[in-house]
């Protein structure tokens, strides 16, 4: 019971972090059909910027400034890179962001070194919020949930209730019509790209110190975010939300369960002496490949993803 509750809380925290990344990716994708391969690089930059700013000023300044900086960077990338690559089609756009992600890691290594930097949780947020049975739940994780939920509520109301949000929504499905009505669609694209990357940056700010801030962090989370988007269904924000939570919770549970198939068989009374390697692997060992197995299963049984509306 204790394990289940704590894992659930941790899983939700991780899942919300994944959603902050996947929501930006989905928004950018469904609007411009651009798969931003460098999305996780912006997450990494957010963490490094936050480390730098919180060293010079404070964590709270970093919480505000780092996502803004990442967003500005994203806008520049869209304006002077992706728009140029767009002339040559989607493959060129994808490869451009792919090259960018490669370069980003190298630049980060150059500026901040190859080892992890000491980006810590601020002292005001250290400590225990409550103790459940015998496991303590840190304040910072609750803070992460609060920031994510606040941000997502903000994003939702921005897209639903503001004029510019409605124009963005319209441009998602009918960019030509929106253009014909006199709106500057390329500028909306830049804005959405900046917003999406800023969200990734924010995820980096609050995730970098909870996990670890190192040059490998983009590669660690990038493929999983892609899996989330495929599993949720391309272009569906709700789908991305469900898939983020699903993968976050599943993975957290699996990491905590040191059970293998053989152990399970023993539990129900079967005594197995020799078993193939696959049956002897524990769930913990399976955790890293679980998202990909889930993706394969979804593709076989429901190719459009959980909530996807279209096939391609």
């Amino acid at each position: 019971m204790e394990f289940a509750l704590i894992s659930l809380l941790n899983g939700v925290t991780y899942g919300l972090l994944l959603f902050m990344l996947s929501s930006g990716l989905t928004l950018i994708f469904s609007m411009m059909s651009v798969l931003n391969f460098a999305h996780a690089s912006f997450y990494m930059l957010g963490a490094y910027f936050a480390y730098q700013i919180s060293g010079a000023a404070s964590f709270w300044a970093a919480l505000l400034l780092a996502p803004l900086l990442v967003g500005v960077l994203g806008a520049l990338v869209e304006r002077f890179g992706i728009r140029k690559a767009h002339r040559f089609g989607h493959v060129a756009e994808l490869l451009f962001t792919f090259g960018l992600s490669f370069l980003a890691i190298e630049v980060v290594q150059l500026v901040w070194g190859k080892a992890a930097v000491d980006y810590r949780v601020p002292s005001a947020l250290q400590g225990t919020l409550f103790t459940l049975y015998s496991t303590s739940y840190p304040i910072y994780k609750a803070f992460m949930i609060a920031v994510s939920v606040f941000m997502l509520a903000g994003l939702y109301s921005f897209l639903t209730y503001t004029r510019i949000g409605l124009i963005i929504q319209a441009a998602l499905s009918r960019p030509d019509m929106v253009q014909a009505l006199g709106h500057d669609v390329p500028r909306i694209f830049t804005l959405v790209f900046a917003g999406g990357t800023a969200l990734a940056g924010l995820a980096g700010v609050i995730g970098g110190n909870a996990l670890v801030t190192e040059p490998g962090m983009a590669d660690a989370v990038g493929p999983i975010v892609f899996v989330v988007v495929v599993v949720g269904g391309l272009g569906s924000l709700t789908g991305a939300f469900v898939a983020s939570l699903l993968i976050g919770i599943l993975q957290t549970f699996m990491v905590g369960m040191n059970y293998s198939f053989v152990d399970f068989a023993r539990e129900i009374g079967l005594d197995i002496h020799s078993a193939p390697l696959l049956a002897r692997l524990s769930l913990t060992q399976f955790a890293p490949v679980m998202p990909y197995l889930l993706m394969v299963a979804i593709l076989i049984f429901r190719p459009r993803g959980l909530m996807g509306a279209r096939e391609t």
């Binding site: 490869l95 370069l103 493929p223 892609f226 490949v289 197995l293 993706m295 593709l299």
Partner: protein, 421 residues
Amino acid sequence: MKTPPLLNARRLVFWSAYLALLVLLPLAVHKGYWLSLLCQIGINTVFALSFNMLLGQTGLLSFGHAVYYGLGAFVTMHALRAINASSLHFPITLVPLVGGAAGLLFGVAFGYVTTKRAGTTFAMISLGIGEMVAASSLMFPSFFGGEGGVSSNRVVGGKGLFGITYGPQIQMYYLIAGWAFLSILAMYALTQTPLGRIANAVRDNPERAEFVGYNPRRVRFLMMMLAGFFAGIAGGLTALNYEIVTAESLSAYTSGLVIMMAFVGGIGVFFGPILGAALITVLQIVVAGATAAWPVYFGLIFLLVVLYAPGGIAGILLEQMKLWRSGELRRLWPSYLLALVPAVILVGAVIFLVEMSYALVNSSQTGSSEVRVLGFGLDAGRALTWIAGAVALAIGVALLRAAAKRIAGDRYVPPLPQGRT
């Protein structure tokens, strides 16, 4: 329309020349260093061409092509171990086929899932499959050998036919060259078959291909299987050449490298990836030996090609050939020469700035922030050197733009075709 015969004089000359080049090249190089470089180029050529069967010919951008290459290499290595332990009798000459078979098998298994979708989704799924295989390499240390990888010996006791043991690197080179030539020829022949043509149709317009009566999914699946086969052969050759395979051979890094080789070489033309494989392999060894900043240069070259020359080197060459044939190049070459000056300034400025950044960052370890330029020592710790670099960069950009405008102005623009397009 009548299709031209597969064997014509031009092709015969071209392929014979290529074969002669492969046979004669090792005679020109004497040092073992260059010989092993040639071996690496041969392997990478097959790998890059197998990748381009997907991207260039079928329109499938795979971020996980190293899976077939790496698994092919691992299976080959295990076969080699079995041969060494005498539990399997198989001539070494044919061992790369084991890698090919493994690549084909995994191409069938993974291709069934990945080719369900095309376009961007395929790219994401291939990335996921690649990550899955890379992650599972840690789960099965008995097969993947953990951190140390799997190693074996390609010289299997006794004298082989004509005394060929594949012990000396030169014999290994000819084995690689032979398999590479056969594979390249087979891949080229494939582009001329109905399957190759339909793959092009599926790439350009899957809907129309479907209307004509072909199932685009099946075409993608078939091409994926064949691409897996050739990637597996490249993997088998790697296993034989290095006698060790590590998990790096199926990592995202290797998948990225093959994208780079194919794209920089040019994905629109069959021979593009051959050029790309040779260039990137040489750069990788030469540049990485010269400077710590090589990943930055690689990234910049890649971005430059994506943004300014999406046809790659092959695309540029074909464009110049066209100009040569129309006689326009004779009018253009003064402008080209003129453009060379700012290009050199620009490249020099970029290299200077990158090297200065590295010198400055590493100065705490090396104890000096000096960059040597043409024999002069410049201190990267001073603002003046940075200003000089930035000014050179700005001048280079400005002049190159002017030169590009001049070239564009000099070019003969054909009148718009009337009536039909």
